[in-house]
């Protein structure tokens, strides 16, 4: 077991790679009631084209299967794992993103028992035709819930605009039609490809005994016969640099219009510290342009073009990435034009000064400290960072070292007319 110290933050992180390849991290948090554990595989909705273990040929699986698998893993021969967790006073959950599937629980007692339940249920799949069919009704309702949600449609509509081929444009839950094709054999195939311990990570935060917990996980893993797995082969088609669609409008049963302006990322092969720096710099740039302390925000708000729903974010992973800026508005076209103009003008560094940069850095450092109050944030972000070969605890230092040149160079590489797109949701006539 390795110990990593973060002095300024007064945190200690413990790490061990298990013999079967599983990465385990523990961040002790004394004073908290709650312990929080996540067990995550580097497998999400974009991993739909791959070589099954030991096969030379590739398979393409139905849209939404990673999320479907997440649902089905909770069901066992003797019932539902939720029941087991609640008997032990824990609350369990799971989520599927573009690149990860994560299983988690939080508890304020019986930590080790709950941890065993978590690890064992994820490592013991049980799929039958009958339970797979039953789940189609439940997930069908989940899909319909999102179809009625204008903010989700806006977000996904904007991503669809950006990509020609990359599966990030496919809704994580799939469609009612695509999940109809899913069978138990497909679930097993995906499971065997992506749920090997060497593709997974456990993160634990809370008032736990580090030594004891690590020993428990080590013994648990040693008792299970995992065979080493060759490297996973995932396949992605080439993706053009420019966006697939410049503008689309969706009419829905809403009263407020919504606008989302997207920028398709440029350098999507970055990993590690390079990616960390690029992603932070892009977020700092957006903050300088659009935060509540910016002149642009004040102007847009005063003109009644935006309200408190206005938000912006930049995210990037291996192979895809995007900035999204938008919110509710009374004048979708005017807002679209203004946001586009602000972005294009910032390419030359307009409004990016030493003073705004320093203020934004301070703000980002403070929000990072605030986020460290949250065990959920630490575990989920640490895992995401780790899968991209970055370290969450490098954030403060990387922020402190960002220069004006870094911001300007991100603005220059990221912002380009051909990489901008807009999606609008407007009331039905």
């Amino acid at each position: 077991m390795e110990k990593i110290l973060f002095e300024q933050l007064q945190e200690e992180l413990f790490y061990e790679k298990m013999a079967n390849g599983l990465d385990v991290y523990i961040l002790p948090k004394q004073g908290f009631n709650k312990s929080y554990a996540t067990f995550t595989t580097k497998y999400g909705s974009i991993d739909n084209h791959f070589n099954p273990p030991g096969k030379d040929s590739t398979v393409k699986v139905p849209d939404g299967i990673a999320h479907f698998l997440e649902h089905k893993l909770f069901e066992k021969e003797d019932g539902d794992v939720f029941q087991q967790f609640s008997k032990q006073g824990a609350s369990a959950n799971a989520f599927t993103s573009f690149t990860r599937t994560s299983y988690l629980f939080s508890s304020t007692s019986d930590f080790e028992k709950n941890l065993k339940t978590l690890i064992d249920f994820v490592q013991e799949p049980y799929f039958t035709e009958k339970t797979v069919e039953k789940e189609k009704g439940i997930i069908g309702q989940e899909i319909k819930m999102y179809e009625d949600n204008p903010d989700w449609r806006l977000y996904f509509g904007c991503i669809e605009n950006m990509y020609y081929n990359h599966p990030v444009k496919i809704d994580i839950a799939g469609t009612v039609e695509s999940i109809a094709d899913i069978t138990k054999d497909m679930l097993y195939q995906c499971y065997e490809t992506f749920y090997h311990p060497s593709n997974m990570l456990i993160f634990i935060v809370g008032p736990v005994d580090t030594e004891e917990t690590m020993t428990f996980i080590r013994q648990n893993q040693e008792s299970k016969p995992f065979v080493d797995l060759p490297e996973i082969k995932r396949h992605f088609e080439n993706e053009p640099e420019e966006v697939a669609e410049k503008k689309r409008i969706l009419e829905m049963n809403v009263q407020s219009s919504k606008v989302m302006v997207g920028i398709k990322a440029a350098k999507t092969d970055l990993q590690g510290i390079e990616l960390l720096k690029y992603e932070l710099a892009a977020n700092v740039l957006l903050d300088i342009l659009f935060s509540k302390s910016s002149n642009h925000f004040d102007e847009l708000y005063s003109e009644g073009l935006i309200d408190q729903t206005f938000s912006y974010d930049y995210t990037q992973e291996y192979g895809f990435g995007f900035a999204m800026i938008g919110g509710d508005t009374r004048q979708p076209d005017t807002l679209t034009d203004k946001l586009t103009a602000i972005l294009l003008n910032s390419k030359s560094g307009e409004g990016v000064t030493e003073a705004t940069l320093n203020r934004t850095k301070k703000k980002k450092i403070g929000s990072f400290l605030r986020a460290l109050n949250s065990p959920e944030y630490i575990a989920n972000q640490f895992t995401r960072y780790s899968f991209n070969e970055m370290n969450l605890f490098d954030v403060v230092t990387t922020l402190e070292n960002l220069t004006l040149d870094d911001i300007c160079s991100v603005a220059d590489s990221l912002i380009k007319e051909s990489r901008l797109t807009v999606f609008q949701v407007v009331p039905k006539k």
Partner: protein, 425 residues
């Protein structure tokens, strides 16, 4: 051993609440103002906190105010309004980094204190009126905020259920105000109401973090000067159900939203509340509950099917999203499960499971500073003084008989269904 030791100091015009804890990297200040929920004032109260947080005398524009917050290591400031029972509550929250985790040792707490009190007591106003264009901007945003409920069908249907169920009671109003009443508000009418609220509302000020009690008290005594007051005490109006109200509304939606309201005739202030809380937990509060198992897992009708309590109003509210044509089947399953609960048709295991997760939920909530404040504030709203330890103890010792007894009081009041355009006459 106490799990969170709250120190309460009654001061002139407000109460200072203080919880010392080393678990956060930030300090949290929460300012709460409570008054009776009334149709006449709810829109003023929904607007006021947003006007106050926009700017202040010292920082007359939002850009200046927000730049200063950035300088304070991204101190966060936000406002919120809520209704609890017969009350309306305005909340101002500030979270600010604890300087001991920064390489820069500037004393942030006092600066945060000054900023918050500046926003509350020294607004951007002149001649008994708020700054005109701030009012205009915030009125426009408030209208948009009220309107946006329509676009989120889960929120919309929950809000429509309450509107139908509590018709004629103050509780029918949304905490975010009434759209038709926004226009008539002026810079001076809001200012007049602001003065009234400062003088009459029941005010509670919470400070949570790794800070010294005497220091907090010194800051509070120096910076807060309020008039004495005697806040009104209200208890929830209880209404007997004459007959179940069925409401069906058609809109262009893909998924139907089913919301059912029950009157429990038990509120947070009652000793039966612990039993009611467990009743709700076994019935629909969690992923092991009867609603989740029977509506979702067994019948495959829904992705979500759950219930929750409006603790201070004495309501139990069920919500689920289903296919439009499954309305009758879903309603009948929910009714059966409610009847099973009333009959005591639940096992010791369901009860002990629910006790364990309720306890877990409370302990988890208080790991978050704002969550801790919300839990402690129940005592203020209900006029009780139950400590967290006592609360957990009472939950643990509640018996099956007490839960069945609490169930006897529960009456179905309204079934609301938001459904698609099919079958629309």
């Amino acid at each position: 051993m106490s799990i969170a030791s709250e120190i309460i100091r009654p001061k002139q015009g407000y109460k200072l609440h203080f919880v010392q804890t080393a678990k956060y990297k930030t300090n949290t200040l929460v300012w709460k103002m409570k008054a009776p929920l009334e149709k006449e004032t709810v829109t003023l109260r929904a607007l006021l906190p947003h006007v106050l947080q926009s700017n202040s005398r010292q920082f007359p524009t939002t850009t200046e105010l927000r730049s200063y917050l950035d300088e304070l290591y991204g101190a966060s400031l936000y406002v919120d309004v809520a209704k609890k029972g017969e009350y309306h509550i305005m909340t101002f929250t500030m979270e600010i980094a604890n300087e001991k985790f920064l390489s820069d040792p500037a004393p942030l707490l006092e600066k945060g204190f000054d900023l918050l009190t500046g926003i509350l007591f020294e607004p951007n106003a002149s001649g008994n009126a708020f700054h005109q264009s701030t009012i205009e901007k915030e009125k426009r945003t408030l209208k948009q905020r009220i309107q946006s409920v329509y676009d989120d069908k889960m929120r919309y249907s929950a809000s429509r259920l309450i509107e139908e169920m509590c018709k004629g009671e103050p509780y029918e109003a949304e905490a975010t105000g009434i759209s038709e009443m926004v226009e008539e508000i002026t810079a001076s009418s809001l200012y007049e109401y602001y003065q009234k609220a400062l003088n009459e509302d029941e005010i509670d000020f919470y400070v949570i973090g790794d800070i010294d009690a005497t220091e907090v008290e010194r800051l509070a005594d120096n910076k807060l000067k309020l008039a004495d007051r005697t806040p009104l005490k209200l208890s929830a109006t209880q209404i007997k159900v004459e007959k179940v109200n069925d409401i069906i509304e058609h809109q262009d939606v893909k998924q139907g939203k089913l919301n059912i309201g029950y009157r429990t005739h038990i509120t947070y202030a009652d000793k039966e509340y612990f039993a009611l809380q467990l009743f709700n937990g076994i019935f629909g509060g969690f992923a092991h509950s009867k609603l989740f198992i029977n509506v979702r897992e067994k019948a495959s009708l829904a992705y979500y099917a759950s219930s929750r309590l409006e603790s201070h109003k004495g309501l139990l509210l069920v919500m689920s999203g289903i296919e439009n044509e499954n309305y009758e089947q879903a309603v009948s399953i929910i009714k059966e499960q409610m009847q099973a609960m009333k009959n005591g048709d639940f096992t010791d295991q369901e009860l002990s499971q629910t006790k364990a997760v309720v306890r877990n939920q409370v302990l988890e909530t208080i790991d978050v500073a704002r969550g801790l404040v919300e839990i402690l504030y129940h005592n203020v709203v209900a006029g009780t003084s139950i400590s967290l330890d006592e609360w957990l103890e009472k939950t643990e010792t509640t018996t099956k008989e007490e839960i069945i007894k609490a169930g006897e009081r529960i009456e179905m009041d309204t079934i609301y269904f938001l459904t698609g355009m099919e079958g629309e006459k």
